[in-house]
Symmetry: C2
Subunit: 469 residues, 2 copies
């Protein structure tokens, strides 16, 4: 997660693209790779070396998902890149097996996440795989090591060159899918609960989106502390799963007011609230804190509405953004914290400490990532849709396993269907707009009603006056 | 610290005052006690019982400090009250030996602390003494127990009726002065460092007013954790004392910019900052936090300027009051907390837990309150002045020991001197105002300077043009 490295790599990428373009142009490259050099830091380092490298290095190709511009699911495209990523001192080359999807990736696609360089760029903050080559000065990793990786971006591809300090050895018995599901969600949940939250026995915690990646990690981590009560929000269909996972009180936020539900059970409020929503939900969370309570906000999921940037949702989130005065904090004895792993650049020691504790808990059988579904790189759009529409229970994973030809055909059929779905969506959106207009009309009507009432009142007064006369 | 009790008692006090007034009036009470019934909850409960109580109860008198109105040091007066405070179920009567002074008492005198009822009222949030009587339903305290007491107000008097749950047994070897110095400062420091702050080995902490009551408590508590670095601000004359008390890096905030001094030693910033100042110092503290750092603000000492309410200081504090958006917290991975023991009403369990840990540390010799000076009740004004002018190192204590007649005479002489001092203060304040005006003039001059510079530039251009021609 060294952010200081990342921009430098990006810079190199652009420089080298300019330098090497004349040499590249004569070659007949497949059109898919056109944007590759600028696409990722790792890929970018290669072309300069193409002239005097061994044939294997020259002919090396790999697939990478590339965000080609901000927008909908179709903006992430699978491309083939050429040239083996060169290793800098301290780096290892990882043959990627599985990648994790995160909310930040969805935000990034809409242009709402400033830790990702401008497109074209390869997203992906976490993956698992096998070390394929080791750069100079790397002493604690060797070829063949199974590792999980945490990086600012650039991991959704077949191979990735990353600092060895961003890799963690996968313990025995953990699958590649589990390993790709672990870093972001568990480190996030761990640091929120045990660093800012200072979770102790007998306390109460509210976990929003309790069936999501962070939600499941947080629930499992809560259960490692004695007698912690977990309130978890999720739609009703997921309640059985989250209850068996450790949520004491599941709340269906779609049909019930979660604040009321919590107050019924815990009238004094809560010790810790994890808030991935932002906007007005942060206000609610603050008011729901006990004295000495901690509100930890770690996202603005309320900004995400639909697959493209929804300006109304963004503006609403800004408008309702929570701002707090210290005098209010003092009088309430409250704490407000903000967390985002993507901004913890260079805090290798903190992250390694957290990861070691999490892996110990895994070995003791106390935590275990739950995989919702695994998708081929070709299916990244569908994978993102599943997560964004909150249809997942647990982690959504991408695998680099080649997609069988049969499935690819199936996929093409689906694509056609998706096109139909898009049309449907469009229709639905238009319908919503129409409904919106209808609503507006209704509102106007409502406003007119009181006027009528007023008129009636006036008429009555007139009549009364007449009677008096 | 049960706030739910306090307003109710206050309410009772008013009610009973009204009920009992006719019965009281015929008696020739000394004028000093006129305001007593409304003055404290404990005293208020008595008059109703005077008619049918035993003679000892009737003739019982005690001294109490009473805040008679908002203002300077002279607003706290020593009065004699009549009638033994009646005990409610769950209460004990404590013969007070020593009382602690706190910043909140100074704020209260100026009308800047809303946890104290309106004057006339007896201030005092902490004291030590001996249990003299035990009410119904009290099982864990007996007559003769040496206790320290924490209450919302009303402890600066010879006897006080308080809930038994607000008392803590004094361990062997602890003096009454130490016991009166312990509750507010050590619970405050403990909860800030170990609940909100989650202090761990190798971390760094900034303690403002490191020679004050909370400052010394916080320093001692920091030293109970391995390899914690303490930065402490205090005027240079106090550096030797705070260094030997555990401050790693003393900083003279009067001659140096503490932010710069901290950055020199710890360029990345700090893990925990305890901020009793408020206003612009809270902004500085926020910027001085490391990622995952915690800012804990627990006062607005910057509001206190002079012995009477300084509207300019108050306004300045409000103007510079720190307000934070959650998006800033998220991007910084920071935490902002507010703490004030006076608002932790009814959190008996939390407070008892903290107190038990602190007393264990005392028994192990790891913490020990440092007494700056002890004053008779008659000297409360001087005691408050010493604290407000930051001339103390450690805790300022009041003792209920009768003042020897000789000292009283001395005191009268001092009073005369104080009058002179007041005149001096007035002169100083006037001088300050003049200095302020001078400063303003200087500022204006500065503004004029750039204008001159601009003119010079213009002249140069003119000359250049001429030369071109």
């Amino acid at each position: 997660m060294s952010g200081e490295d990342a921009p430098a790599q990006q810079q190199n990428a652009v420089d080298q693209k300019q330098e090497t373009k004349p040499a590249e142009e004569p070659k007949a490259e497949p059109p898919k790779t056109e944007s590759a050099p600028a696409g990722t830091a790792e890929a970018a380092a290669t072309p300069a070396a193409t002239t005097d490298k061994a044939p294997e290095e020259e002919t090396f190709t790999y697939r990478a998902l590339v965000l080609t511009g901000y927008g909908g699911y179709d903006k992430v495209k699978l491309q083939v890149k050429k040239g083996k990523p060169a290793l800098k001192a301290g780096e290892v080359l990882v043959r990627v097996k599985a990648c994790g999807l995160n909310f930040a990736d969805l935000m990034a696609r809409q242009g709402l996440y400033d830790r990702l360089p401008s497109p074209p760029v390869t997203p992906g903050m976490e993956c698992s795989g096998v070390v394929e080559a080791v750069g100079d000065e790397v002493t604690d990793r060797k070829v063949g090591d199974k590792v999980m990786v945490l990086n600012r971006y650039g991991l959704w591809q077949d191979v990735a060159a990353v600092p060895a300090s961003h890799t963690f050895l996968i313990p025995d018995g953990m699958t590649f899918e589990e390993a790709a599901a672990l870093p972001v969600n568990y480190i996030t949940a761990y640091m929120m609960l045990f660093d800012f939250g200072n979770l102790r026995p007998n306390q109460s915690v509210l976990v929003h989106s309790a069936a999501g990646g962070v939600g499941i990690a947080a629930t499992q981590l809560c259960k490692t502390v004695k007698d912690v009560t977990v309130f978890g929000t999720a739609s009703a269909s997921k309640h059985e799963t989250i209850s068996s996972g450790g949520v004491t009180h599941p709340i269906d936020y779609r049909t019930k007011d979660y604040v009321e539900e919590v107050r019924k059970i815990s009238p004094k409020g809560l010790d810790i609230i994890l808030d991935p929503l932002g906007g007005s939900d942060t206000h609610k969370a603050y008011n729901l804190l006990k004295p000495m309570g901690k509100l930890i906000t770690y996202g603005t999921a309320n900004m995400l509405a639909g697959q493209k940037k929804n300006l109304l949702a963004v503006a609403k989130n800004w408008y309702h953004q929570f701002s707090i005065h210290t005098l209010s904090l003092i009088q309430g004895n409250k704490s407000v914290c903000g967390f985002h792993l993507g901004y913890l650049d260079g805090e290798t020691e903190l992250i390694t400490q957290a990861m070691n504790t999490i892996l110990d808990l895994y070995k003791q059988g106390k935590v275990k990532p739950r995989i919702d579904s695994t998708w081929h790189l070709e299916q990244v759009g569908e994978a993102m849709r599943k997560m964004q529409e909150r249809n997942n229970i647990g982690k959504v994973i991408l695998t680099t396993e080649p997609m069988p030809e049969e499935e690819k055909k199936e996929e093409t059929k689906k694509e056609d269907k998706k096109e139909d779905k898009k049309k449907d969506d469009k229709k639905k959106e238009d319908k919503k707009k129409d409904d919106g207009k209808k609503e507006e009309k209704k509102e106007e009507k409502k406003k007119e009603e009181p006027k009528k009432e007023e008129k009636k009142e006036e008429e009555k007064k007139e009549e009364a006056k007449k009677e008096e006369k």
